[in-house]
């Protein structure tokens, strides 16, 4: 027995330091009685002891809500006593999480107690924060907006919205921007899954997760590529591990890092960042080579797979190994596992989406699953795990610069549709916009600037921007800025704006990184626990949240703030025309009803507030295996009425748990691939061939339903007279009566048609996905064969560079690949979660993960402070964490930190008492230019950097 262990010795590096703790021997190791250490340095970081919630015997009200962090959508029982959120109980009967939570969900109650909240409106004057009243703030902000609109036009204001809005607020925000006369609005989806939505929707109709987390339990193989659910969607792991245990699922993780998910995998494949398409083609090479594809499925439901074959033929094992770093054995083994274990699904997240070739990646993933015949089956699917709690909802509700709610787009038809729903005169609406025409067309019909490019909207030459002027003012409404790239340029952009308005429960990094003296407003918004509304989880289920507590301090719910601003700007009445008002707050349920009345494209029409609330009150009736209610008030429904929930609420469609599943009747949640791209292409039929839904009256492919089609089919008379009156001259998307949809479904047909999924998206820069090297690549030898695109003169109103960036070889100075990602304790830009002590305690310092061999090359030891300098000169000072998680040529930084900028702490710039507990450098200070060729997604997953020890 040895009593002396290595754990005796203080951790001066020998034992390694975890990602979760860096030992601070503040003065304790300096000798002498005079040292501070003699009297003992308290282990507590902070000297104030937190006060516990007061004990109360008051009656307990139990509220049902949903976690506001990620999109898994975990149910929560919040227990409130006398208006104080005193307890949080696990919701064991919730069908998605069964009471489980990750670190963030388990600490939700602290939302009701965080002392670091923004408490009242503030304005920056002479570098100091001054308090304002709401009236004053709205008045001053409104006046400035009116002034700028007058001088420079409505497009000079950017209304950046949030994935943390509930559905009603997201919808209202989009409406707000429209009434304000601009398409310059966006939210986090742009920098998260925009390439997914574009790529996937253009492949088979909708760009959302096809199955559900629960359904993953039925998968026989699950491939995670660029996804780390153990940290980003921990509750999804409950389902995934059940799949592993109960269905003997093969778990394959493809990632540049050996993630926590890889630790639970059967097979881990290390891939070079940015080589996803080559990897997928490499898998397909083996699949085609061995005849493992599902040819029947392809014949019936897929168009242009032969073109894919031709492309894949150029990716034999040697080429794939050269590009991705994955050897032939491993590729074949992975392909075999997928082929032999069906139905299987693929899961991808930011690792696949955040590239200049994001839209290629996402389509390649879809094509893989189509080849295997996995789409539209239980246990199969393209399972896209979305990010923020309501990024799916905000995307669906159209809070984007290129569309209106429901993905209607920005065509005149789309605007007319929504003008009808909003009960506003179309001409009036049109008059709100800048009438001139620019490179992209007229602003009303052309996509606005994206959040990923807003800084260029400020810094770019005015004549190169496809609107009248540069951006002059910006609203950061529930959106962090340290999640966008090019931090140093962002700071410059912030200084050039005439006004910044941050609307958020916390000051956020935007409030402190600007280095301005004035012209910055902070408006305290309430969290989702201080208001009510619906939220859409990643599996398309819509959940209703109760209000847990009243807004803290002087914060207001977002929809109230929107109304106050709209009123000041002169379109308040129009904004809330159809809503009952309670003081300055539009009634949330009325907003739900309004979008129910208009979102026929994605089937957000059947989820009335009443049905959603019934689901909320009856969690226990829904099955954990397939989300279906067995008995109870919602009998037959799928939990949350996953969209598309066709027709009106009265029709009672149960929701669509698995997209494109032809084994079920459409009226019971089945679906086909959407006929979105026409009937034929180059003379070839692109409607489904011999594949149709269970009990469908049309036993073949068919186009989307219009009034004409109903008349041709002889089904027109099944409409009621009222329906006929409305539906005449309309199609399934614009018929506000819902009659066309109802009749189509009565015949077990999908209202949107029955087509083939297409592998060739002829409207994209690369119709068949291609591998292209990242803009900042360490493989100069591959640039010649796999170059990026030519520069684009105007995309989303801005010139976008590709070739110009890529042709510069910076590998001499910046030889290391830099990638970024998530931690389980924090979320997004991190201001909210770093302001919650229970979470902040777990991750107190920003760091960079460096491989041990690389660390030795750079003479860096664990715990050293290092400068990580990105290829465009932005540098961050962070702590080195030496770990074999990353490959030798790759380093990783989490992106959740903020509050320090290039070595300097910004703590003093926060309003008194509202700095987060933990500050750190933002990873995106060091990241670089690079935007997807279809959606302007930023390339944060692969850039270049160099690292040196900080002296």
């Amino acid at each position: 027995m040895r009593l002396t262990r290595k754990s005796d010795t203080p951790r001066n590096g020998g034992l390694g330091i975890s990602r979760r703790q860096f030992l601070k021997h503040s003065g304790a190791t300096t000798g002498g009685l005079a040292a501070a250490g003699f009297m003992g340095a308290p282990m507590m970081q902070r000297s104030e002891a937190a006060e516990k919630t007061a004990w109360s015997d008051a009656p307990v009200e139990t509220k049902r809500t949903v976690c506001s962090h990620c999109s898994v959508g975990c149910g929560v029982y919040a227990e409130v006593q006398e208006g104080v959120w005193t307890k949080q109980e696990p919701a064991f009967d919730h069908p998605i999480n069964r009471g489980a939570h990750c670190a963030k969900g388990a600490s939700l109650r602290q939302h009701g107690h965080s002392s670091r909240r923004l408490k009242y409106p503030m304005k920056l004057v002479g570098g100091e924060w001054q308090r304002l009243s709401w009236e004053e703030a709205i008045e001053q902000i409104g006046n400035k907006v009116l002034e700028l609109t007058e001088q420079h036009g409505p497009d000079s204001i950017y209304w950046l919205g949030s994935a943390k809005f509930n559905n009603e607020q997201a919808y209202l925000m989009r409406k707000f921007a429209a009434l304000a006369g601009t398409n310059n609005t966006d939210h986090q989806a742009r920098i998260c899954h925009s390439t997914t939505v574009a790529g996937v929707a253009n492949t088979w109709g909708y760009g959302a997760m096809t199955n559900s987390l629960n359904d993953i339990q039925n998968s026989k193989s699950i491939m995670f590529i660029g996804s780390n659910p153990s940290e980003a969607h921990p509750i999804a792991m409950q389902h995934i591990l059940l799949a592993k245990e109960k269905s003997q699922a093969e778990i394959i993780v493809v990632d540049p890092r050996f993630t926590r998910t890889a630790a639970k995998a059967d097979s881990y494949v290390r891939i070079r960042p940015g080589s996803d398409v080559a990897f997928i083609w490499g898998l397909l090479w083996h699949i085609f080579e061995n005849g493992w594809e599902d040819q029947t499925y392809i014949d019936q439901r897929v168009y242009a797979m032969d073109e894919v074959r031709a492309e894949v033929a150029q990716f034999p094992p040697s080429v794939v190994e050269n590009i991705t770093g994955v050897g032939e054995e491993s590729m074949r083994d992975t392909a075999r596992r997928l082929a032999e274990n069906r139905p299987g699904c693929i899961v991808w997240c930011m690792g696949g989406t955040q590239h200049t070739t994001g839209n290629n990646n996402t389509r390649a993933y879809c094509i893989l699953e189509l080849a295997l015949g996995n789409i539209g089956k239980s246990g199969g699917g393209a399972n896209i795990f979305r990010g923020h709690d309501n990024v799916q909802g905000a995307t669906d509700l159209g809070l984007m610069s290129h569309s209106l709610p429901g993905y209607y787009g920005l065509s005149e038809g789309a605007w007319k549709h929504w003008a009808r729903v909003w009960d506003l005169d179309y001409e009036w609406l049109k008059s709100r916009f800048d009438q001139a025409e620019y490179a992209d067309g007229k602003p009303m019909y052309s996509s606005g600037i994206t959040v990923s490019r807003w800084i260029d909207g400020v810094l770019e030459q005015e004549e190169d921007i496809s609107q009248r002027t540069r951006l002059k003012a910006m609203f950061y409404w529930g959106h962090a800025v340290n999640s966008q790239t090019r931090g140093p340029e962002m700071q410059k952009a912030m200084q050039q704006l005439e006004m910044m308005v941050i609307v958020d429960p916390y000051p956020t990094v935007a409030g402190v990184m600007h280095d301005r003296q004035d012209g910055v407003f902070l408006l305290p918004a309430a969290t989702q626990f201080e208001t009510t509304g619906s939220v859409t989880a990643t599996n398309r289920s819509i959940q209703w949240r109760d209000q847990v507590i009243e807004p803290l301090f002087e914060s207001k719910p977002d929809h109230e703030i929107m109304y106050l601003l709209a009123r000041k700007l002169g379109f308040g009445d129009e904004l809330v025309k159809n809503f009952q008002m309670n003081g300055n707050q539009p009634l949330i349920e009325d907003i739900t009803r309004e979008f129910n009345a208009g979102m026929w494209t994605v089937g957000y029409t059947g989820q009335s507030p009443e049905r959603l609330k019934a689901h909320q009150q009856n969690w226990h009736t829904f099955s954990f295996r397939d989300l279906r209610a067995e008995g109870g008030p919602a009998d037959g429904d799928y939990y949350g009425l996953p969209w598309p929930c066709w027709g009106t609420a009265e029709m009672g469609h149960p929701g669509t748990p698995i997209l494109y599943d032809t084994s079920k009747k459409v009226s019971e949640g089945g679906l086909t691939f959407r006929a979105r791209f026409g009937i034929e292409r180059d003379g070839e039929n692109i409607l489904a061939d011999g594949s149709y839904s269970q009990d469908s009256d049309l036993e073949d492919g068919y186009p989307e339903f219009t009034d004409t089609m109903l008349k041709d089919l002889g089904w027109w008379d099944e409409l009621t007279d009222a329906e006929k009156a409305e539906a005449d001259g309309k199609n399934w998307k614009t018929d506000l009566s819902g009659g066309i949809q109802r009749v189509a479904i009565a015949h077990e047909c999908s209202p949107f048609g029955n087509a083939k999924a297409r592998c060739n998206v002829w409207t994209f820069p690369d119709p068949i996905p291609k591998h292209r090297e990242p803009l900042y690549t360490s493989r100069r030898d591959l640039v010649e064969d796999y170059p990026t695109w030519d520069d684009v003169a105007s995309h989303y109103r801005l010139p976008t560079l590709y070739k110009t960036i890529q042709e510069k070889d910076v590998t001499g100075e910046y030889p290391i690949i830099l990638t970024s990602g998530r931690l389980v304790e924090y979320e997004g830009g991190g201001e909210e979660t770093r302001s919650m002590s229970w979470l902040a305690e777990l991750q107190q310092e920003m760091f960079v993960e460096i491989n041990p061999a690389l660390a030795n090359d750079l003479a860096i030891a664990e715990g050293d402070m290092v400068w990580v300098e990105g290829a465009e000169g932005g540098r961050v000072k962070v702590k080195a964490m030496v770990t074999p998680r990353v490959a030798r040529e790759v380093v990783f930084m989490p992106f959740h930190f903020g509050g320090m900028f290039q070595g300097e702490s910004l703590q003093d710039r926060y309003p008194e008492g509202s700095a987060p507990y933990v500050l750190g450098e933002a990873a995106n200070t060091a990241t670089t230019y690079g935007y997807d060729s279809v959606t302007q997604m930023q390339e944060t997953k692969c850039t270049l950097c160099r690292i040196e020890k900080a002296s």
């Binding site: 009297m39 600490s107 409950q238 591990l241």
Partner: protein, 204 residues
């Protein structure tokens, strides 16, 4: 009488730290003190495994044996509680505990450590009133017929808590389901060959 125990199924633990913050949620322990911690071995390597550890409420608890003031005691249901009024902050329980469960808010000269704090299995501690109990020890969920919040909120149901027999049953079911011949932590030679095709005819 039921014997209350914790058990963490390391095959399910994904180091999400939900248990750590759930405990904070229920008991509101000060910054710097985490009653429950998650330990990861071989972080970043193929043999990475995580496990959540807090007081294990041992049957023959070393902490109880070495405490000079009898601060620690064991209930009939096996839960080891502590009485903050008696604690003198000597630290012996910490030295004795194999799991590092006891923690102290300070570590100052003259052995001033403050009062020991540790996992109570969400069963509170000795106090006159409920307010006092909550202030000193945190939640008493056991008295309400509930289980510790850490286990109730575990993201993958890795952490189990409750009657030892029931916990063992649940775990045994999992082991059987996973097909292990000799318990859940079995060695697996196949893992060495993870990049090659696995030959199913080979005997494990």
């Amino acid at each position: 009488m039921a014997t209350m125990k914790f058990m963490c199924d390391a095959e399910r633990c994904i180091e999400c730290n939900g248990c750590v913050t759930a405990c904070k949620n229920a008991n509101e322990v000060d910054w710097g003190i985490q009653r429950r911690r998650v330990v990861t071995l071989n972080d970043g390597e193929p043999s990475e495994v995580s496990i959540s550890v807090a007081c294990m409420h041992c049957d023959d608890a070393p902490c109880i044996a070495v405490c000079p003031t009898e601060t620690l005691y064991q209930r009939d249901d096996g839960i080891v509680l502590h009485d903050k009024d008696l604690c003198i902050g000597c630290g012996y329980c910490l030295y004795a505990c194999p799991f590092g469960a006891p923690q102290f808010p300070k570590e100052n000269a003259f052995g001033e450590r403050g009062k020991m704090d540790k996992c109570t299995f969400c069963a509170g501690g000795p106090a006159e009133t409920k307010e006092e109990e909550y202030q000193k020890y945190g939640a008493n969920r056991i008295a309400e017929g509930k289980l510790p919040l850490c286990a109730e909120m575990c993201s993958t149901k890795a952490l189990l808590a409750g009657d030892a027999q029931e916990v063992a049953d649940i775990f045994r079911q999992r082991v059987v389901q996973r097909g292990h011949k000799d318990g859940a932590w079995s060695g697996n030679p196949r893992a060495e060959t993870d990049s090659l095709a696995y030959d199913a005819t080979q005997q494990g």
